[in-house]
C-alpha cells in the first residue's frame, strides 16, 4: 500500500518517460540536462571529488556536449556505470551518451547496436613490470602472473597475445584500477596489463615510479571514444561534431580564453564557421550557431582538456603521443568544417 505513495511522490520527479529510440536531442532539451554515462571513478578520466564535482578527460567531453546543446556546461548529470552495466545503461536510455574509456570494436558497434561516433583517445594495451624483474619484452613473460581488469576487451587481447606467442600465463582478474595497482605493488602479479594510458597514470602516482617500466609491446589497438545509441543519427552527429569542433579549435589555436577575441579578429573562414560567425553549422544539426563556441569557451579545446586532466605536469603525466594533432605527427584529425 505505502509503496504506491512512494511511486506517487517520486513519479513527478524521477519517472522520465520517452521512447528510447525517439530523438535524443529533444529529450535532452526537454529535460534540460544531459545524462552522461561515466566511470565509477578513474583518476584523470572521470571521477567525482568529495563534494561530488566531476572532473576528468572524459567528463569534459560531456560538458562540451552539454554546453553545445543546453548552453551550460554544468547541466550534466553523471551516471556512474561499471564495465558490466555501461552498455545496457546506454541501450535502455538511462544515459544519453557514454564516455567511459570504451573501446570501439566490431561487435560492440554492430551486435550491441551502438554507435561509436569518434575516437577521443587512441590507446593500446601494454604491460607494466617492476624493473628488477629483468624483463625487457612482453614475450619474456612466459609463466608470469598477470593482473587484469575484468569486464573489458583487455581480457580477450591478453588471451590472444599469449596464445599467438605460444607462452603461458596465470591471469589474476581484479575489479578496478586501484585494486589492480595495489596487487601489482604488493607483488601479487608480475605484470599489470591495461591500456597504456592507465599504466602511465598508475605509474605516475606510485611512490617509486622509477622502479617500474612499461614494456615496449602494445598488444592491441584501443580506440576509446564516446558512444551513442544506434539509429539516432542526429544525436550522433551532434556528439561527433562537438568533439571535432574541439579538435579544430586546437588546430586553429582557439582556446577558452581567447575565443571571443579570435571571433572578433579572425579572417579564417573555417574558424568563423566553427564559432558561428558565418554559415549555419549549428543550425544544421539542430543546435544554434553559437553551440561550438560555447563548448570551447566552457572547457577549452582538445589540447587544453588533455593538458588540464591527463597531460604532462598533472599527476597522470601522459604525453600526447598518438593523440597529438595530425599536424604534429599524431592521429587526431578532424574532417573539415564545411
Amino acid at each position: 500500500m505505502k509503496k504506491s505513495v512512494f511511486f506517487g511522490a517520486l513519479a513527478a520527479t524521477t519517472l522520465v518517460s520517452g521512447m528510447a529510440l525517439a530523438a535524443t536531442l529533444d529529450d535532452v532539451k526537454a529535460r534540460g540536462e544531459l545524462l552522461c554515462g561515466s566511470n565509477t571513478g578513474l583518476t584523470g578520466f572521470g571521477s567525482p571529488d568529495a563534494s561530488g564535482n566531476w572532473s576528468g578527460f572524459d567528463v569534459d567531453l560531456c560538458r562540451a556536449v552539454a554546453a553545445a546543446v543546453l548552453g551550460d556546461a554544468n547541466k550534466v548529470k553523471f551516471v556512474p556505470t561499471t564495465g558490466e552495466t555501461r552498455f545496457t545503461a546506454l541501450q535502455s536510455g538511462e544515459v544519453d551518451l557514454l564516455v567511459r574509456n570504451s573501446t570501439w570494436t566490431f561487435s560492440r558497434d554492430t551486435e550491441l547496436a551502438l554507435d561509436f561516433v569518434a575516437v577521443n583517445y587512441y590507446d593500446g594495451q601494454g604491460f607494466m613490470v617492476k624493473k628488477d624483474l629483468g624483463v625487457s619484452s612482453a614475450k619474456e613473460l612466459d609463466g608470469a602472473t598477470v593482473c587484469i581488469q575484468t569486464g573489458t576487451t583487455t581480457e580477450l587481447n591478453l588471451a590472444d597475445f599469449f596464445k599467438q606467442n605460444n607462452i603461458s600465463y596465470q591471469p589474476v582478474t581484479v575489479a578496478d584500477d586501484s585494486e589492480a595497482q595495489r596487487q601489482y605493488l604488493a607483488g601479487a602479479c608480475d605484470a599489470y596489463t591495461t591500456d597504456a594510458s592507465g599504466l602511465a597514470a598508475s605509474r605516475a602516482t606510485m611512490p617509486d615510479a622509477e622502479n617500474h617500466v612499461i614494456l615496449p609491446e602494445i598488444i592491441s589497438k584501443e580506440p576509446l571514444g564516446p558512444v551513442v545509441r544506434h539509429g539516432d543519427n542526429q544525436w550522433g552527429d551532434i556528439v561527433r561534431w562537438t568533439y571535432f569542433a574541439l579538435l579544430v579549435a586546437e588546430e586553429k589555436g582557439v582556446t577558452a580564453a581567447n575565443v571571443e577575441e579570435v571571433l572578433a579578429s579572425t579572417a579564417d573562414e573555417e574558424v568563423k564557421r566553427l564559432l558561428g560567425a558565418s554559415g549555419d553549422m549549428g543550425a544544421k544539426i539542430g543546435l544554434d550557431n553559437d553551440a561550438f563556441k560555447r563548448s570551447i569557451a566552457a572547457v577549452g579545446n582538445y589540447g587544453e582538456i588533455f593538458a588540464r586532466n591527463i597531460g604532462e605536469g598533472t599527476s597522470i603525466n601522459l604525453a600526447r603521443g598518438l593523440n597529438a594533432l595530425w599536424t604534429q605527427g599524431g592521429l587526431q584529425y578532424a574532417p573539415p568544417f564545411r
Binding site: 578513474l42 536510455g93 586501484s178
Partner: protein, 479 residues
C-alpha cells in the same frame, strides 16, 4: 561444682585462604580450573598479545592532519623513524561527508538528519504502543539528537526552528494523547520521502490524499457491494488517483501556493545515507507485502498458496547480487518500452521484494508459533478471516516476530553494501573506491575500510542488542 567451659562469644571468622578469595579465586575458577582451561587461557592471552603487537604501532602513529597520503607518510616517518607505518586518518577530514551523506548538498544535510530523528519518533508508537514513559524517553532522545546534529550541520534558522517545533510537538502529543502518535507513524513514510528527495510540499500531501480516496470509496461502496469488492474498488480508485490526478493537482497547487524545498536527485545520495534509505524504505514497504505473502502461504486456496510459495522460494533461492543485477540490467526489459526511472528506485523495488520474501518467512514463523487455540477461539467467536487476522492473529504473531524482523533488517542493512557492485556510491565499495581513485589518497587501503566497518558494527551491534532485549522482554510476556 561443675566447671562450665564454654565460649560466651563467637570467634570472628577467619578470612578465607588466599586462593579462595578476591582476584585469585576468580582467576582460579574462571581461568585456571582445569589443565584444558589453563591451555585455553594461555592461548587466548597469546592471541591478544599478538594482535596488539602487530597493530598497535600502526594505531599509535596515526596522522590526523595532512592533505595527501604522501604527506601522511612523510609525517609518520619523521615522527616514528624511517620504515614506520601509521594510519592516515587525515583522509577522513576530506571524505567524511562522502562516507556519511554521499554527494548530498551540504546546505541540505538537515533533511536526512531530521528524517533520521523523526524515524525514531515514528517507530516508537509501533514498539511501545501507549506506554507514555518509553515514548517520552525515545522522542526526547530523538529531540536531543536533532538539536546537536542539526546544530553541527549548520542548519538554516527556519529549518531548525520548524524541526524543533515538529519534534517538540510530537513530544507534547506523547504526553497528552500517546495513542494518537500512531497517526504520525502512518504519515511518516510520505514525510520522509519528501524530506529526502524534496520538491513541492504538495507532493506528499496529494500523494497521501490517495489513501483518503481509497478509504472514502471503500466506505461509500461497502454497504452496497460488500467489503472485499469495495476494498478492491478503493484500490483501483486510489491507483487512478495516483496515476492520473496526482501530478496535475500537484502542479496546480504548486502554481497557486508555491511551497517547497529544493529537490535532490537520486544520484546525489551516497554513503551511509544511501544504505539507510535503501534499508529503511525496503523494510517498511516489504512489511505489508511480507504479511500478505505469509498469509498467502498459509492459505487453503491452492493457487494463492502456490503463487506465494513460488515467489518466496524464488527470491530466497537466488543471491541478492543477481537481483541487483536484474535491477540494473534487466528491469528495463520488463517494463513498457521507453519507461526509464532511476537506478536507486529500481534497486529499492528489488530489495523490497527480497526483504518481503524473508519477512514472509519470519512472519510465517510467528504465525506458526501461535497456539492453535487462538485460531480456534477466533473461529468460535464467528469472526471472518480478515477480522480474525486483524484482531487476533496478526497482532500476536507480529509481536513475537519483532526480534526476527529486527534481525532481518540488520541483515538487509549489511547487504545494502552490495549495491556498490552495480555502481552506486554506498560506503563500503562505492565511496571507498572513489577515495582510492582520488589522486591525493591513491594507495590508501585500511583506513576507509576500517572506518566503514566500525560504523557498520556500531549500528548493527546496537540493533542486535536491542532486539535481544526485546526478545527477553517479549518472552516473559508469553510464559
Amino acid at each position: 561444682m561443675a566447671i562450665e567451659f564454654s565460649r560466651k562469644d563467637m570467634l570472628p571468622p577467619l578470612p578465607p585462604p588466599v586462593s579462595e578469595r578476591g582476584a585469585v579465586k576468580w582467576a582460579r575458577e574462571n581461568l585456571f580450573s582445569t589443565p584444558l582451561n589453563i591451555a585455553l587461557t594461555v592461548l587466548g592471552v597469546l592471541v591478544i598479545l599478538w594482535l596488539v603487537k602487530s597493530a598497535l604501532p600502526w594505531w599509535l602513529n596515526s596522522v590526523w592532519n595532512a592533505s595527501s597520503l604522501s604527506e601522511c607518510r612523510a609525517i609518520v616517518e619523521a615522527s616514528a623513524g624511517a620504515g614506520a607505518t601509521g594510519a592516515c586518518w587525515a583522509m577522513l577530514r576530506v571524505w567524511w561527508s562522502g562516507f556519511i551523506f554521499g554527494f548530498y548538498p551540504s546546505a541540505e544535510w538537515w533533511r536526512p538528519i531530521l528524517s533520521l530523528g523523526l524515524l525514531f519518533a515514528a517507530l516508537s508508537p509501533a514498539l511501545f504502543a501507549g506506554q507514555k514513559r518509553n515514548l517520552t524517553i525515545v522522542i526526547a532522545g530523538a529531540a536531543l539528537f536533532l538539536v546537536v546534529a542539526l546544530y553541527l550541520a549548520e542548519t538554516p534558522a527556519t529549518a531548525f526552528v520548524l524541526s524543533m517545533v515538529l519534534i517538540l510537538g510530537l513530544l507534547a502529543l506523547a504526553q497528552v494523547a500517546p495513542a494518537k502518535l500512531l497517526w504520525f507513524t502512518l504519515i511518516y513514510p510520505a514525510l520522509m520521502l519528501w524530506l529526502l528527495w524534496g520538491g513541492s510540499v504538495w507532493l506528499p500531501i496529494v500523494g497521501m490524499a490517495g489513501f483518503g480516496v481509497l478509504y472514502f470509496v471503500f466506505r461509500l461502496a461497502s454497504p452496497f457491494i460488500g467489503l472485499a469488492p469495495a476494498a478492491g474498488l478503493g484500490v483501483v480508485a486510489a491507483a487512478l488517483w495516483w496515476l492520473y490526478i496526482d501530478v496535475p493537482v500537484v502542479n496546480q497547487l504548486q502554481g497557486l501556493l508555491p511551497f517547497g524545498i529544493p529537490s535532490i536527485d537520486s544520484d546525489e545520495f551516497g554513503g551511509f545515507l544511501l544504505a539507510t534509505v535503501i534499508g529503511v524504505t525496503a523494510i517498511t514497504f516489504s512489511l505489508p507485502i511480507g504479511i500478505l505473502l505469509a498469509l498467502g502461504r498459509q492459505s487453503d486456496m491452492l493457487i494463492v498458496k502456490t503463487l506465494s510459495v513460488g515467489f518466496i522460494e524464488f527470491i530466497r533461492g537466488v543471491p541478492l547480487i543477481t537481483l541487483l543485477f536484474t535491477a540494473s540490467l534487466l528491469l528495463q526489459y520488463f517494463l513498457p518500452p521507453g519507461t526509464n526511472f532511476d537506478i536507486i528506485l529500481r534497486v529499492i523495488i528489488l530489495v523490497t521484494f527480497f526483504a518481503a520474501a524473508y519477512l514472509a518467512e519470519v512472519i510465517r514463523g510467528g504465525l506458526a508459533a501461535l497456539p492453535r487455540g487462538q485460531y480456534e477461539a477466533a473461529d468460535a467467536l464467528g469472526l471472518d478471516y480478515w477480522r480474525a487476522q486483524r484482531l487476533i492473529i496478526l497482532p500476536q504473531a507480529l509481536k513475537i516476530s519483532i526480534p526476527a524482523i529486527v534481525s532481518t533488517f540488520i541483515g538487509l542493512f549489511k547487504d545494502t553494501t552490495l549495491v556498490g557492485l552495480i555502481g552506486l556510491y554506498e560506503p563500503l565499495k562505492g565511496i571507498t573506491q572513489l577515495v582510492r581513485a582520488d589522486t591525493n589518497w591513491k594507495g590508501i587501503y585500511w583506513e576507509p575500510y576500517i572506518f566503514v566497518g566500525v560504523i557498520f558494527f556500531v549500528i548493527c551491534f546496537g540493533m542486535s542488542r536491542y532486539s535481544m532485549y526485546l526478545e527477553r522482554k517479549l518472552k516473559t510476556d508469553h510464559r
